[in-house]
Amino acid sequence: MDHLDALENESIFIIREAYRKFHKIGMLWSVGKDSTTLLWLVRKAFFGRVPFPVIYIDTGLHFKEMYEFRDWCVKKWNLNLIISKNYEEAEKLGIGPKDKLKCCTIRKTEALKKTIEEHKFDALLLGIRRDEHGVRAKERVFSPRNKDFYWDYKNQPPELWDQFKTQKESEQHIRVHPLLHWTELDIWKYIKREKLPVNPLYFAKNGKRYRSLGCMPCTKPIDSNAKTVDEIIEEIKTSKIAERSGRAQDKEEAHAMQKLRALGYM
């Protein structure tokens, strides 16, 4: 078994555990490469089906290619799509990307809260990876959140072998992370092996490509000439820049900028 097989088998096991253990389950699908890989693994786990809703958080600020890709997949794979949105509220209050913190909260977090409330989800599958961001190195495969999405990472239950936290307390929902042990490179190698569809935004056009997808105002392309999956794999192998560097939505950054403005620097 090579290590992509090992990862695949492990992820399928986790997906099946979540499906069996929770009453009402859904998965977050951003149409990006990670959550689309997750979607593919779900289809493998259930022999071609996706037996639960797939949630797309629409911030109203996504690229048109994302909506197109979404609708194409929904049709091709016969998905039960839930569109989670709160952007009308954001627009009513005049909250936009100028205030990144507020904008993310109202368009994403609040939207998802509403959707969880409405559909009474007790578990959500997410395509996060441990190597994505520093703090995620502390994540568990099954990770409880309270209703305000608070993650008490210092006091998490232990997770031994394949035994996960499958009993949730009331008011909690469990986030399930079947891709936790994958790396960005693993994802692209798997996409290549499985011939997965890829959003065209990932491929270079005029010397630029997107390395991760998000809202238009806050997602910036990187310099790249990688026009195929093979070229992307080569690029990542030699790249020295962190994956999320293309996303300007870092909360710290917004906070730091606010402070510098107060001090007269901006």
């Binding site: 088998n9 786990a45 190195a137 502390k138 072998w161 009993q167």
Partner: protein, 411 residues
């Protein structure tokens, strides 16, 4: 390329992060971007970039709770890629340490040459033993602080071997090193000319990916049964190999049938082996559900019992007293149980404690009495069916089923 997951454990301040830093540094595996700024600043100020700064940086990430994120924690040798699993050394993070270590395929136990065996050395070693890690390297670090003394090395080695024997760990190598100076990590060194064993990297490269589970009797803990367009039994193979046409026996019902197909999405496959997540269809309609264990009829059969001898490691602030009911989870089986306490041990000293309650970070020999029969194995035989967790609201203990078998073997 193959990837082996390793965990580095040991007492706080015995040099874990220095060793990790050294492994990255000496194998040229530190992503440039991580130390780029430090390098540039050093250059601009006309200073040499030292290993110490690299180390500072890694330790700082650790302190900020970031540890070393997983992208960074890969290092490569000629033979393969290694992933270092985060296993914090501080006693408060024991639950995280155990979570990390339970994913590892090999371990390095680090001991300070000057200080010798300390509290976390014992506790961590015990956890390695409990987790069944067989591929263990012991490194005796900070040899530079004892003048690279062969006598001191022998002394600590002797003390360690005696201790490790009591918890059934046989280290494959015991290597004197100085992580700070880089002695015997990636290269041999004149400082330790009296030592003729391998370096840490050579020792790691001599390890194998664990494959032996394929050669054990077949066990499939049933995870679920799907009825999408046909009835498919799904699960991840704990051990052995299964093929189309094999005769199987389902526990606890004892029903027997034949495998009609072994399936993965989109394809029927001829056979599947340990670690694979598969689907099975059977010739006859059998009653089967999550928690059942499937074996092959012509192989050694599992143990079915309501009484299990086990070692457990307690990790809940609320102690255990006899009479409390807990949830026993082994593979996909879940059943309520009670425990009879035979012996309680302090994991820091490994001394037997004269008491009948099991407290946080205690180790105990117990007899687990389940309310319904369970299908298990001795940990040494088939680890996935020989290890279990005990649960209240959250997991409060982990354990292994000891070699001397189980009482009431009702098979």
């Amino acid at each position: 390329m193959e990837r082996l997951k390793i965990v580095i454990v040991g007492h706080v301040d015995h040099g874990k992060s220095t060793l990790i830093g050294r492994l990255f540094y000496d194998t040229d595996s530190l992503p440039e971007s991580k130390i780029k700024e430090i390098k540039e600043v050093c250059e601009a100020l006309g200073k040499e970039i030292e290993f110490g700064y690299v180390l500072d940086y890694l330790e700082e990430e650790r302190k900020q709770g970031v540890t070393i994120d997983t992208t960074q924690s890969f290092f490569k040798t000629q033979k393969r890629e290694y992933a270092i699993i985060d296993a914090p050394g501080h006693v408060e993070f024991l639950k995280n340490m155990i979570t990390g270590a339970s994913q590892a395929e090999a371990a390095i136990l680090i001991v300070d040459a000057k200080e010798g065996i300390k509290e976390q050395t014992r506790r961590h070693a015990y956890i390695l033993s409990m987790l069944g890690l067989k591929q263990v390297i012991v490194v005796i670090n900070k040899m530079d602080l004892v003048d690279y003394s062969k006598e001191r090395f022998q002394e600590v080695k002797k003390e360690l071997l005696e201790f490790l024997k009591t918890i059934s760990i046989e280290p494959k190598y015991i290597i004197p090193i100085s992580a700070k100076n880089g002695d015997f990590i990636a290269k041999k060194s004149e400082n330790l000319s009296w030592y003729d064993g391998p370096t840490v990297l050579e020792a790691l490269d001599s390890f194998e990916k664990i494959k032996e589970l394929d050669e054990k009797p077949f066990r499939l803990p049933v995870q679920d049964v799907y009825n999408f367009d046909k009835r498919v039994i799904v699960g991840r193979i704990a051990s052995g190999v299964i093929s189309k046409g094999d005769e199987i026996k389902i526990y606890p019902s004892g029903e027997v049938t034949k495998i009609k197909s072994v399936e993965k999405y989109g394809r029927e496959i001829d056979k599947a082996s340990a670690g694979e997540s598969i689907g099975l269809t059977t010739e006859d309609k059998v009653f089967v559900d999550r928690g059942d264990i499937i074996s092959k009829k012509d192989e050694k059969q599992p143990i079915v019992t309501k009484e299990i001898n086990a070692h457990i490691f307690w990790m809940d602030k609320e102690p255990y007293k006899e009479g409390e009911r807990l949830l026993f989870k082994c593979a996909t089986q879940e059943v309520m149980c009670e425990m009879k306490i035979k012996r309680v041990i302090d994991s820091a000293t490994l001394e037997t404690l004269d008491k009948k309650i099991i407290e946080n970070r205690n180790v105990a020999d117990v007899v687990i009495k389940t309310e319904k029969p369970v299908v298990v194995e001795s940990f040494n035989e088939i680890p996935p069916l020989g290890r279990f967790v005990l649960q209240r609201q959250d997991t409060c203990a982990g354990g292994i089923i000891t070699g001397d078998g189980c009482d009431n073997n009702s098979n």
